[in-house]
Amino acid sequence: MKLDAKIPDGPLENKWDKARFELKLVNPANKRKFDVIVVGTGLAGASAAAALAELGYNVKVFCIQDSPRRAHSIAAQGGINAAKNYPNDGDSVRRLFYDTVKGGDYRAREANVYRLAQVSNAIIDHCVAQGVPFARDYGGTLDNRSFGGAQVSRTFYARGQTGQQLLLGAYSSLMRQVGMGSVKVFSRREMMDVVMVDGAARGIVVRNLIDGKIESYAAHAVLLCTGGYGNAFFLSTNANSCNVGAAWSAYKRGAAFANPCFTQIHPTCIPVSGEHQSKLTLMSESLRNDGRVWVPRTAGDRRSPAEIPESDRDYYLERIYPAFGNLVPRDVASRAAKRMIDEGKGVGKTGLAVYLDFADSLKRQGEAVIKEKYGNLFDMYHHLTDEDPYRVPMRIYPAVHYTMGGLWVDYNLMTTIPGLFCLGEANFSDHGGNRLGASALMQGLGDGYFIIPYTLGGYFGGTKLPKVDTSHPAFAPAEAGARGRVQKMLSIKGKRTPASFHKELGKIMWDKCGMSRNAKGLSEALAQIPKIREEFWKSVSVTGSGDGFNQTLERALRVADHLEFAELLVRDAFERRESCGGHFREESQTQDNEAKRDDADFCHVAAWEHAGPGKDPVLHKEPLKFENVHLAQRNYA
């Protein structure tokens, strides 16, 4: 396997312009001769499908949920970044690029990130035109707020529901195309395989979740927009159905998987309350604009927060990082919280939490203003914990949230399989070792609205693609493989539920490959995961039948993929013997316990190639070159 990132040469500012000029075009009349499959309808998938259909392509869209509007982008809260510089506070495309590369701890591609910053402003323009109700000032202009890792206010927001509003914007554009007949939506379908013809992706096999039928669809190109793999940890802020299955099936067909160990642990989530918990809930990073994070100054101080006077509190982020204060990047804030808790300063019943306190802001700005900014988040917290954050400080704890790793893609968003593209969280390209807040929405929509419409045209314009439909001999074996997998699972009739395996895997992942990792723990995990997998295939119990609606079977199929994928994640974490961003190797830290990169040995993208069942995957390295940003130890103090 050869990794060619296809980054255009020339100055950074001109690369995208150059690429767009050099990419071949498909004339308007010919576009309708091309079929495109889009899997996933989050921000990346919905925006790509809508934009491609607007250009004239025939688009087929697939989603797990009953409606494309329910993809998990809907749950993104805080906002979306853009380099508009409306507040006149020093922002620019260059600064957004710089902050994102630095925030990612110098493990993203310069050219990709610069392009993202370049298209960021057009995203805001388009979303406003779609009727996304962003927050505004009294004069009618758009309002901004601050997010972690930046000293400018560049984040556009719609209360604490920005992801929902942006997704509904993309969904509305998608439904417009459905009404016009250029998009067909296949809901309640789960992707099982990519179908390859002459070495290129020419279709997919899906399972219809209503009737259990295995179905095939052919196209000229396939776009995977299937989100991240946070659910490999069992407990995460991901929705229950989020899974790595689509990307994993592509990996097994030859798509390289890049940097799987780059996982983001978000500092502000509602703490775990007990064994019964099925998922964790995020409290937006935007809350750190007005909330102050603190713990008691002395370990073991069990007084209620109201009884702890100012003098006995440690606002540790403000103390350790005076320049960025509560708005340090997520990885930094999460590790700082862990250090406090490890020192015995954790709060709440379990001691596994720190306070996020709004008392000062409520006093300064009044309850009405805080409600306008964060009302829905405060309500969510209240529902979940039965505590009123207007009266008592929130308790928060880090949780698995976003995954920076994903399928390796070149500058054109194409994986190592020709004709198979990957967009949004599912690819690896823009966030390096740590994603900054409000950048995921930017990337998903940037990929979908403004990048793939050009690069996909370039692929079609420059590639000979013979006519292929589902009667092509490549489809039958892929279908048979999917059917066989379902049958095998149903025939085990063991004693243990799929969820019990998922929990067991998640515990290992969190304990040994979570916020803090070391060689010993990782090698233990590498030994344990195959054993759980073996046990799973011996003793899983999947009740119900294969030819009907069966959520137990759906869960089992997803857990089986996570059991395979998790091993690759841990292996990648084991091999990357440096700390960077969200990947913290205890062996590699500064005197102040910050992540210490090793640029001499690890300034590269780790891209893993599947070598066949039972064989070790092959590691390929794409060196990262930094010509515009000086590599430095990140400093937020």
């Binding site: 749950a75 323009d125 406003v128 009618g140 929705a239 403004f450 119900g544 959520q551």
Partner: protein, 249 residues
């Protein structure tokens, strides 16, 4: 704490359904109602029985996937919350809790507590959008929107498309759902050019999908997990009247 769940079980759209009872131990009142269903399902699977099918996904009240009528109320007894945000602390020892699917002509049952709400998507495809092609937009700040209008548009846009309004309505009308979208765009200058066309087409689609008519019961507002207000239905009616007079369509 011990409770009894009475759950609607139905194998498929054509099959007859009935209530089945399950005794459940609630280990912690911090547990959500859906997590209790998870626990019951774990028990059923361990016994080799088919698990209770129910829709859920984000489990934080925003995706709109969960869709149960609990103790006679769409999304259950908690105000301004989706089914997934209902916690066991709202119940007490010995309670018998009844869980049914959203029932409406336009929402055929798929299995147990799962219904097909694709009718709502079809209504959206008939006008729930602003016709703007990617790349054609002007600078975002060249469209000025008064803050109060933006806030009201956001209140309407908060709809999660769960269909609780339909389930709660004695006529199974989708008025609040459609009103939320029509209002959002009617309140914003961007929605202006298609204002009449949108309301006429969405209303027609709503009728053809088999949703009932509104008779001002206000049950929809009472159960809406996002507190979308009845005033949006008044706005929908005004928009419709305006469109009929203004537009020849």
């Amino acid at each position: 704490m011990k409770v009894t769940l009475r759950v609607w079980r139905q194998k498929g759209p054509e099959a007859a359904g009935c209530f089945e009872s399950y005794d459940a131990e609630v280990p912690s009142t911090d547990m959500s109602f859906l997590e209790l269903l998870d626990t019951v399902n774990e028990g059923l699977i361990a016994k080799g029985e088919d698990a209770i099918a129910f829709d859920h996904d984000c489990r934080e009240g925003i995706c709109g996937m969960c869709s149960q009528v609990i103790d006679g109320q769409a999304h259950g007894p908690d105000k301004a919350a989706a089914t997934c945000q209902l916690h066991m602390r709202k119940f007490k020892e010995g309670d018998v809790i009844t869980a049914e699917p959203f029932r409406a002509k336009a929402f055929p049952i798929v299995k147990d507590l799962v219904v097909d709400r694709s009718a709502l998507d079809r209504v959206m495809s008939c006008g729930g959008f602003i016709s703007i092609n990617t790349g054609a937009a002007q600078d975002a700040n060249s469209i000025l929107v008064p803050k109060d209008d933006a806030e009201k548009a956001m209140d309407a846009a908060a709809c999660i498309g769960c269909g609780a309004c339909v389930a709660a309505c004695p006529n199974a009308a989708a008025m609040l759902f459609v009103a939320a979208k029509v209002s959002q765009f009617a309140l914003l200058p961007q929605g202006g050019p298609e204002r009449a066309r949108r309301v006429l087409r969405m209303r027609a689609a709503m009728d053809s999908e088999g949703f009932g008519h509104c008779s001002n019961e206000a049950e929809c507002e009472a159960v809406c997990p996002k507190e979308v207000r009845l005033s949006n239905i008044a706005r929908l009616n005004r928009e419709f009247l305006r469109a009929v007079i203004v537009s020849p369509e």
